[in-house]
């Protein structure tokens, strides 16, 4: 009775959360239960509940197909690149923007560097084609070569990481930049009075004070290690089968399972189950570690 009274009293507020709650249930919570299809022999006509159980068959096929190792390797290596190398470049860039702050050129450069962030990967894939087309593309013209970029997997680790760096660092550096700008300038003044060089100020003031935001960014990155920048890996190599050995990640593999006529929904759902559950564990574990090391940076 008391509960009903509280509900009634908060009726208007409950009505306001209702659309959001409905959204979360329909598009987030029900698909969580949809993960069960990894253990089923899914059939569109029978639906999720009606499809027959398949035990661990989907997982068995995935492992036996021989792709699993390659996909996992690509996913993790590219993720580590964006977790470590890209972050270092972003921090480096933020420190440089800070060293020039106040000038008009600097403001212009910052604005321009964010530009790629606002382009869709489909658009960027066309830029890629302008550079990489084997007959007319800029790269072959400059290098004087005749390389078939879209059928030579060995070049793609460099191409993909370059495109990623190009697209994200401008936007990614903002968060470090604004943190650097927030550092109390008295710290730097005191250091200068004590005779600290510019590099010593960066090393002993700027970087230690960025530590907490770096930790937050890294934890979030570790939680997403199995999720790649899907648009990049799907569009820029034009989903070319010849390149899969160096371009296929978990996301593109799963996507191909849904969209390609010959794709296997069963193996995709098994890969998706792995991605969701292991991704969840990684978030929990990394958060627990942070809770031990520096509790104030823990996410929950």
């Amino acid at each position: 009775m008391k509960f009903l009274k509280t509900v009634k009293k908060n009726g208007p507020l409950l009505a306001m959360v209702f659309p959001g709650v409905a959204f979360f249930i329909l598009f987030n919570y029900i698909p969580m239960f949809g993960l069960l299809i990894a253990f089923k022999n899914f059939n569109f006509a029978r639906g999720i509940i009606g499809s027959k159980w398949a035990g661990l068959n989907n997982f068995k096929f995935l492992v036996m197909s021989g792709d699993a190792f390659l996909i996992l390797r690509n996913t993790i290596l590219y993720a580590l690149f964006s977790l470590i190398v890209v972050k270092i470049i972003e921090i480096f860039l933020a420190i440089m923007y800070d060293s020039l702050s106040g000038s008009k050129l600097n403001r212009f450069n910052q604005t321009v560097s964010i530009l790629p962030h606002f382009l869709s990967w489909v658009v960027v894939a066309y830029f890629g084609q302008a550079l990489l087309d084997s007959e007319r593309g800029l790269f072959n013209q400059i290098l004087g070569t005749n390389i078939q970029w879209y059928s030579e997997p060995k070049y793609w680790p460099f191409i993909l990481t370059s495109f990623q760096v190009w697209k994200v660092i401008g936007y990614g550096s903002i968060i470090y930049y604004s943190n650097i700008r927030g550092i109390d300038s008295e710290l730097y003044e005191a250091a200068r009075i004590d005779g600290a060089t510019w590099w010593q100020q960066v090393k002993y003031i700027t970087i230690p004070l960025l530590q907490s935001i770096i930790i937050i960014m890294v934890i979030m990155g570790i939680g997403g290690i199995l999720y790649s920048d899907f648009g990049l890996f799907y569009n820029v190599p034009r989903n070319s089968g010849a390149l899969y050995s160096t371009t296929q990640t978990l996301d593109t593999y799963i996507y191909n399972g849904i969209t390609l006529a010959g794709g296997s929904l069963g193996m995709s759902s098994a890969a998706g189950f792995f991605q969701s559950t292991v991704g969840f564990l990684l978030v929990i574990i990394s958060n627990a570690i942070i809770k031990k090391v520096s509790p104030e940076n823990a996410m929950f």
């Binding site: 659309p19 919570y29 698909p31 910052q110 560097s113 606002f118 869709s120 003044e189 960014m217 929950f300």
Partner: protein, 315 residues
């Protein structure tokens, strides 16, 4: 659950400090950051140049930064014969506007309710939202649920529903409302007889404009750029194809031609090559898709900057 307010964008008279930085460091920084800007512009410049180059010149000389033979034929073609392109453009604009309004409406109402001190389930609902960022059903599962249970295949509604309500957005708006709108303002309005809804849209919404602008603009950009949802869910509904899907499909046909040229009959091959849009057309279309955002974003830059700096939310 609280937002880390480590970000302080206010400048604390640091200007005199940059004078102290060694000149070599400054020169290096200028070269590096200006070089990066050049790299950001180059691919777009190249694409723009291709779209203004004569097709025969492209075939003979390849792509270049300055059109060897200038031509506006690609754009003329798009303007004259591109009824499909214009329709797709309209669809994208419509989806962006309606989708952004939908997101703002749902997110702001949810955030308002859980920001109220008197609301007894604020904590539980925050967690209910936050949990979706930790664990998800993934792509296959969402696809199957959306198509088999909700019948959203080839239904344009999916374009505004997918990703409409993000937990992080809700938590950002909630924290903003809590910290910058005093509870006493709402309480006194209620004493004066204002209903909960009235408090929301007459007091809280106007005060929350800065944070809602940030979230709305980020959602608008992601709607404009979304090729994935339409590609996945709208395989045959051409009437409702957004512009990104049109661009994506052209690219896919080229890839198909490149990989299957050997297996096709000469007639088939000839037909496909004839129907294939020219390089100038494709690059022109690419520019038309990219340009609205490139032109608009410098004006809204401060909101986007705010967006990423408040994005580091703790649950």
């Amino acid at each position: 659950m609280q937002v880390s307010t480590t970000v302080n964008t206010k400048r604390k008279k640091k200007k005199d400090l940059t004078a102290d930085i060694p000149i070599l460091v400054k020169i290096f920084s200028i070269i590096f950051t200006t070089g990066l800007s050049a790299l950001c512009i180059i691919p777009m410049w190249l694409t723009l140049s291709i779209s203004f180059t004569d097709e025969f010149s492209l075939a003979a000389d390849g792509y270049g930064f300055i059109p060897k033979v200038f031509s506006t034929k690609s754009y003329e073609y798009i303007f004259e014969n591109g009824s499909m392109v214009w329709r797709a453009y309209g669809v994208t604009v419509l989806i962006t506007v309606v989708g952004t309004i939908l997101t703002l409406a749902v997110v702001s109402m949810f955030a308002y309710a859980i920001s109220r001190q008197s609301f007894p389930w604020g904590y539980q609902l925050s967690f209910f939202a936050y949990f979706t960022t930790l664990f998800s059903g993934g792509m296959v599962s969402s696809y199957i649920v959306n198509t088999t249970m909700y019948n959203l295949r080839d239904n344009p509604l999916i374009l505004i529903l997918a990703g409409a309500v993000g937990a992080m957005n809700i938590l950002i708006v909630r924290t903003y409302m809590r910290t910058s709108i005093p509870d006493s303002v709402i309480e006194s309005a209620k004493i004066d007889g204002a209903s909960e809804f009235r408090c929301f849209y007459q007091i809280v919404l106007p005060m929350a404009v800065p944070v809602l602008a940030t979230i709305g603009l980020m959602r608008a950009v992601s709607l404009w750029n979304d090729w994935n949802t339409s590609y996945l869910y709208m395989p045959t509904n051409n009437a409702w194809a957004p512009i990104q899907l049109v661009l994506k499909k052209i690219e896919k046909n080229i890839e198909y031609l490149a990989t299957n040229a050997n297996n096709m009959t000469p007639e088939e091959l000839e037909r496909m090559q004839r129907e294939m849009p020219s390089d100038g057309f494709r690059m022109g279309l690419t520019m038309m898709v990219a340009m609205p955002l490139v032109i608009a974003y410098p004006f809204f830059q401060k909101y986007f900057v705010k967006g990423i700096t408040v994005g580091a939310v703790k649950g």
